[in-house]
C-alpha cells in the first residue's frame, strides 16, 4: 500500500500518464467526488462489508469455536449443498412462499378496497383512515404479543367470540397450522402500508377521467376496472415488490407468536434461530444461517430484477 503510493507519486512527479489523468480532474470534479465520498463510504461500511461478510460466512465452516479463533476452514459451496439437501429447507421454503403469497394477496386486495373506499372523501374519512394506520404505528413487540393472547386456545378472545357464534374453539397456534395464525396477524399488520401507498396513488388519478366515464354511462364497477386499476399499475407494482421484500424477511411477528415453531417456520425465522442459537437448539450455526440469509437475498434480488424488467417494458410501450 505504502510502497505503491510512493511509486505513484514518483510517477506523477515525472509527468507520467497518471499525472495527466490527475490533471484532467477539474476542481468541480474534485468537489463532486468530495460530495459523493460520504455516501460511498457509508454504502461500503454498512452495505457492502456486511454483505460480503455474509457470503463469506456461508462459504466457511463456522462454529462458535472457529468464529472466535478465526480458523473456520473454507469449504466452497459444501454448506449450500448440505442445506439444500435437507428436507427442512424445502419444507421451510414452501411455508415461506405460502406465508409471503397469501399475506400479500390479502394485504393488497384489502388495502386497495380500503383505499378506494376512503378516496370517496366522505365525512370522517380522514379520521377513519388514521385509525387504520394503527397497526403500522404499534411496535411489533406489542402487536405480536396481543395476537398471541387473542389466539390463545383456552382463554383467547377470538375463541370466546367463535364460541358465542356456536363455533368450536380453534387451537390457533398449534404446530400443524400455526402458519395460518401468523399469516392472519401479518395480513393485519401489512394492510396500512398498502392502504397508504395505494391511497396516494389514487389521489394522482385525474377526476376528469371519472367524470368522462360517468358521461359515457360507466357504472362504478366498470370505472374501477377500466380506469382505477390500470392507472394504478405502477403504484401496484412497487407496492407488491416492497411488500414482497418486507414479508420475506419478517421475523418479529412470527417469533413473538410461535418462536417459529411448527409450520410457522420461514426461511427468515430459521436463519435467525440458527444464527443466534434460538428455537429448538442453542447450537450456533453461523454458516447455515448465512447460507439461508444469502438465499433470501437472492430470492429478493430476482424479484427486484423482474420488477425492473417489467418497468422498462412499460416505459418503452
Amino acid at each position: 500500500m505504502h510502497a505503491s503510493s510512493v511509486s505513484a507519486s514518483a510517477r506523477r512527479a515525472h509527468g507520467s500518464p497518471a499525472r495527466r489523468r490527475l490533471h484532467r480532474l477539474t476542481p468541480t470534479r474534485w468537489a463532486a467526488i468530495g460530495f459523493a465520498a460520504p455516501l460511498i463510504l457509508y454504502m461500503l461500511i454498512f452495505y457492502v462489508v456486511p454483505l460480503v461478510q455474509n457470503v463469506s460466512m456461508s462459504l466457511h465452516r463456522y462454529s462458535r469455536r472457529t468464529f472466535v479463533t478465526g480458523e473456520a476452514p473454507f469449504v466452497g459451496l459444501d454448506i449450500y449443498k448440505e442445506v439444500l439437501s435437507t428436507n427442512e429447507f424445502w419444507t421451510t421454503l414452501g411455508q415461506t412462499l405460502i406465508f409471503v403469497v397469501v399475506s400479500i394477496v390479502f394485504q393488497y386486495s384489502i388495502g386497495l378496497a380500503l383505499a378506494v373506499f376512503f378516496n370517496q372523501n366522505f365525512k370522517l374519512s380522514a379520521t377513519l383512515r388514521g385509525i387504520f394506520l394503527v397497526p403500522w404505528l404499534l411496535p411489533p413487540m406489542i402487536s405480536g404479543t396481543i395476537w398471541q393472547w387473542m389466539m390463545d386456545a383456552d382463554n383467547g378472545i377470538i375463541n370466546k367470540f367463535l364460541g358465542m357464534l356456536g363455533i368450536a374453539p380453534v387451537w390457533w397456534l398449534q404446530a400443524g397450522h400455526s402458519l395460518w395464525a401468523v399469516i392472519i396477524a401479518n395480513i393485519w399488520l401489512g394492510i396500512p402500508f398498502n392502504l397508504v401507498i395505494l391511497y396516494s396513488g389514487l389521489q394522482n388519478i385525474s377526476k376528469d377521467l371519472y367524470e368522462a366515464a360517468s358521461l359515457d354511462g360507466c357504472n362504478g364497477w366498470q370505472k374501477f376496472w377500466k380506469i382505477t386499476f390500470p392507472l394504478l399499475r405502477p403504484v401496484t407494482m412497487i407496492t407488491l415488490l416492497l411488500g414482497f421484500v418486507y414479508t420475506l424477511k419478517t421475523v418479529d411477528i412470527i417469533w413473538l407468536m410461535t418462536q417459529g415453531s411448527g409450520t410457522s417456520q420461514t426461511l427468515a425465522t430459521w436463519s435467525y434461530a440458527m444464527a443466534f442459537g434460538k428455537g429448538y437448539s442453542s447450537t450456533i450455526r453461523y454458516s447455515e444461517a448465512s447460507v439461508v440469509g444469502t438465499l433470501l437475498i437472492l430470492i429478493a434480488l430476482i424479484f427486484a430484477f423482474i420488477y425492473i424488467g417489467v418497468q422498462r417494458r412499460e416505459e418503452k410501450a
Binding site: Q174, A175, S281
Partner: protein
C-alpha cells in the same frame, strides 16, 4: 408472554434490531459485545443475565460492594442467551468483560470455544462447593466457572383450590397419585396444572424432572423414558388439565397463569418461592414415576473469567478477587439471597434455611439435582434440541 417478561422482551428487541433477514448474520458483530472499559482504567466490567436487577437493587449493590480496593465495578445485565452470544463476539474482538456470569448448560460450549479461563490458576478458591452443582463448570478436570448457588424446580400448589377439591398434597407420591390429584382438582371445577413447554432449553429444563423421574438417561434421549414423560405431560394437555398454551409458554408466562389463582398445580422454580409465599402457595418436590423425589436439573449460573488476548495480570487478579469475594463464606449467603438462590455450599445453605423456612422444601431437590451437561458435556446441546423437538411434537398432538 403475558405480563412482565424480562427474559423475552430484550430478546425480541434483538430480533427486531438484528434479526432482519438480509443483514441477519452480517450484523452479528454489530449486535455483539458492548465494549468493556478502556484498558488501564480501574473499572471492572461485569456481565450477568439478571437485567431485572437494576442499578441500586440488592444484587447490584452486592456485586459493587465486592469490588477490590481501588477498583470500581460496571455491571451490565442482559438476557440469558445473549450473555453467551455477546461474549462470543466480545472475545473475538478482544473487548470481553472482566467477569461474565453464564447459564450452566452453556459452560461446555463456552470452554470449548475458548471463551473462559481456568479459575484455579487465576487464584479463585473452588473448595468446599457441592459437586452436583459445580459439575457443569468442570471440564476435563479443570474448573472454568463457579456457581455461587442454584435454583431447583418443584411442584407448587394452591392450598385453597386443593382443599375445595378435597386433595391432600401429602398423598402425591408418584405420577399415578399426581394424576389422580390433578383429575380431582379439574373435576371440582378448577384448572389443573401449568408448566412451560416452550421450544428450546427452557422447555427442556422443565421436562427433565419427568424424563429423569422415569429413569431416563440423557445419553439416550429417544428411550422409553422420554416417551413415558412425553405421554404424561402431553396427556395433561389432551385431557384439558393443562392449558394448550404450554407449548408456547415460558416459565414466567406459565407462572402468570398460576397467579390467577384458578390452577391447582404449577411446575416452576425456587426463584418464585418468595412470590408464592405472598400468594399463599406451597410446594412439594416433583415426584418420580414410581415414587420418591425425581432428580431436577441444577439451575443457575456460573461466574467466569473471560479470555483476553492481551492479558492484563492486574485486571485478572482484581476480577478473580471479585469472584472470590462474592463466593466467600461471609458473603455467599448474601449473594444468593440477592437473586433468590440456594447456596452451593452446605454450611451456607443450612444457614439460609435456618433464617427463612421458605427454603426448607427445596433442600432435598437441590441436593439431589443433576447438572445437565455434567455427564455428556457438549453433546447436551444436540440432546436438548432433540428432546425439545419431540416434546413440542407431543404437546402439539
Amino acid at each position: 408472554m403475558r405480563s412482565s417478561h424480562i427474559s423475552v422482551i430484550p430478546t425480541a428487541q434483538k430480533a427486531l434490531s438484528c434479526g432482519v433477514a438480509v443483514a441477519l448474520v452480517a450484523t452479528l458483530a454489530g449486535c455483539g459485545g458492548s465494549s468493556s472499559s478502556a484498558a488501564g482504567s480501574k473499572t471492572l466490567t461485569f456481565w450477568d443475565p439478571y437485567p431485572q436487577y437494576t442499578t441500586g437493587s440488592v444484587w447490584d449493590k452486592q456485586v459493587k460492594s465486592c469490588a477490590p480496593k481501588g477498583w470500581k465495578v460496571k455491571r451490565q445485565g442482559m438476557p440469558q442467551n445473549d450473555v453467551l452470544n455477546n461474549l462470543t463476539t466480545a472475545v473475538k474482538s478482544d473487548n470481553a468483560p472482566d467477569v461474565a456470569v453464564i447459564d450452566n448448560p452453556f459452560m461446555p460450549t463456552a470452554v470449548d470455544s475458548g471463551l473462559v479461563t481456568d479459575l484455579a490458576s487465576a487464584g479463585v478458591s473452588t473448595k468446599g462447593f457441592d459437586k452436583n452443582i459445580e459439575g457443569p463448570g468442570i471440564v476435563d478436570g479443570k474448573q472454568y466457572g463457579l456457581a455461587f448457588g442454584t435454583n431447583a424446580l418443584g411442584l407448587y400448589y394452591n392450598p385453597a383450590v386443593l382443599q375445595k377439591a378435597g386433595v391432600d398434597p401429602s398423598s402425591i407420591k408418584d405420577w399415578q397419585s399426581l394424576n389422580a390429584a390433578i383429575k380431582k382438582v379439574v373435576d371440582s371445577g378448577a384448572k389443573g396444572i401449568t408448566f412451560a413447554g416452550i421450544t428450546g432449553e427452557e422447555g427442556v429444563f422443565q421436562f427433565l424432572p419427568w424424563f429423569w423421574g422415569a429413569k431416563g438417561n440423557l445419553a439416550h434421549p429417544d428411550s422409553q423414558a422420554a416417551k413415558e414423560a412425553e405421554n404424561l405431560v402431553s396427556g395433561w394437555v389432551r385431557n384439558g388439565w393443562a392449558p394448550k398454551s404450554v407449548a408456547t409458554d415460558n416459565q414466567s408466562a406459565s407462572w402468570d397463569l398460576m397467579l390467577t389463582g384458578d390452577y391447582g398445580f404449577a411446575e416452576n422454580g425456587s426463584w418464585q418461592a418468595a412470590a408464592a409465599k405472598k400468594k399463599g402457595f406451597k410446594s412439594i418436590p416433583i415426584p418420580a414415576k414410581d415414587g420418591g423425589v425425581a432428580p431436577v436439573p441444577t439451575g443457575g449460573e456460573f461466574a467466569t473469567l473471560p479470555f483476553h488476548k492481551k492479558a492484563d495480570k492486574d485486571r485478572q487478579a482484581a476480577a478473580a478477587q471479585l469472584i472470590s469475594c462474592l463466593t466467600s463464606d461471609s458473603e455467599l449467603g448474601k449473594t444468593n439471597e440477592a437473586i433468590g438462590y440456594l447456596a452451593a455450599k452446605k454450611s451456607v445453605r443450612d444457614q439460609q434455611v435456618k433464617n427463612d423456612e421458605l427454603w426448607a422444601p427445596w433442600v432435598e431437590s437441590v441436593e439431589n439435582a443433576r447438572g445437565r451437561t455434567t455427564d455428556i458435556g457438549m453433546k447436551y446441546e444436540s440432546v436438548s434440541a432433540q428432546l425439545s423437538k419431540s416434546l413440542q411434537a407431543a404437546l402439539n398432538s
